[in-house]
């Protein structure tokens, strides 16, 4: 198979395209669960060996020492068609891995911020991060059994979200529910993109 430049005449074989969506949120909120619920295989795990300074992602690969740290990321694949593949990446849960987030967020078409109403503050850093970068995102409240149910407008107010940011309830263990979250995100990302183009 030959890969050519992007500008091909219409009607030519479509080029394979990979896009990615991030799944963020606090520790234990269900990121890997959601990735696994919609992916075609069980979540895969990949590791980056990084320097603490974050200068160059693959510096000192594999070298054991104080100056390196290993960050694991869980991810999954959804093959939409022969030439279109969607990857879902769970973001590493600790704030000190922001430099990994930068690599992950580069080129991402959007993000799902998973929230747990019992620990709502855990998703603040994710929301701040995506707002700061201008990455389109939705907030999905993972409904844990036994957790008090809040109305969506209460969650929206508690998170001080822009009114345009979709907030929805979900069950990250369920495929249909997780699919709905992703579809909501894609629709939101499409609207955001159209609005930005209109301003240009």
């Amino acid at each position: 198979m030959d890969y050519g430049p992007s500008e091909r005449p219409a009607g030519a074989t479509p080029l394979p395209t990979a896009i990615k969506i991030l799944v963020a949120g606090g520790f234990g909120v269900g990121k890997t669960t959601m990735v696994g619920a919609v992916s075609e295989t069980r979540p895969l795990r990949t590791e980056e060996v990084l320097t603490e300074s974050g200068v160059g992602i693959d510096d000192l690969s594999g070298v054991e020492g104080k100056s390196t740290t290993t960050v694991a990321m869980d991810f999954g694949r959804i093959t939409i068609s022969d030439d279109l593949v969607l990857y879902l990446f769970g973001t590493p849960g600790q704030d000190r891995f922001w430099f990994v987030w930068d690599e992950l967020a580069l080129g991402a078409i959007g993000a799902v911020v998973l929230a747990d109403t019992r620990r709502l503050a855990d998703c603040f850093p994710s929301i701040d991060y995506f707002e700061g970068r201008g990455t389109p995102f939705v907030v999905a409240v993972n409904c844990f059994e036994g957790a008090k149910q809040y109305r969506l407008d209460e969650v929206q107010a508690a998170l001080n979200l822009d009114p345009g940011v979709p907030v929805l309830l979900c069950d990250a263990r369920r495929r249909e529910s997780s699919k709905e979250v992703l579809i909501t995100l894609l629709e939101h990302a499409m609207k955001t993109r159209d609005a930005r183009r209109a301003m240009d």
Binding site: E48, G56, D59, S61, L84, V85, L86
Partner: protein
């Protein structure tokens, strides 16, 4: 790593102990690929059905070519070979330099000409 033909109790180390060969040994000490940047979702496809014993290629190179008979992302290759992404990038650089794999960089949202990719993904998800 398991030793072939030995009863399990005589094996001195099992998979849980981690790799016997250090990642930097796999890359022969190199931290950076000779060519390319390799995003986590860059798509890699082998250009040949298999590679024989070529000078300078290790078993990991051969494994990547085998794996990439079906298009794989850099992240998937790393996960399947159980090696850090940085190590895989170095190995992929070698393979690109020898024309054994082709790499397609991912499209960003800004790089998409219209909404057709978004729509295709939405429809694809609905059909799952």
């Amino acid at each position: 790593m398991t030793v072939q033909g030995e009863p399990a109790e005589h094996q001195w180390v099992d998979d849980h102990a981690g790799p016997v060969v250090r990642p930097y040994a796999v890359t022969r000490g190199r931290a950076r690929p000779v060519t390319g940047t390799f995003d986590l979702i860059s798509l890699v496809t082998a250009t040949r059905a298999d590679v024989g014993a070529e000078i300078g290629l290790g078993p990991e190179h051969v494994a990547i070519v085998g794996l990439c008979q079906r298009m794989q992302s850099v992240a998937e290759i790393a996960a399947h070979l159980d090696l850090p992404v940085g190590t895989i990038r170095v190995l992929l650089g070698d393979l690109v330099a020898r024309n054994l794999v082709q790499v397609r960089e991912p499209r960003t949202s800004a790089g998409l000409p219209d909404n057709s990719v978004f729509e295709a993904v939405i429809n694809g998800l609905r059909a799952l």
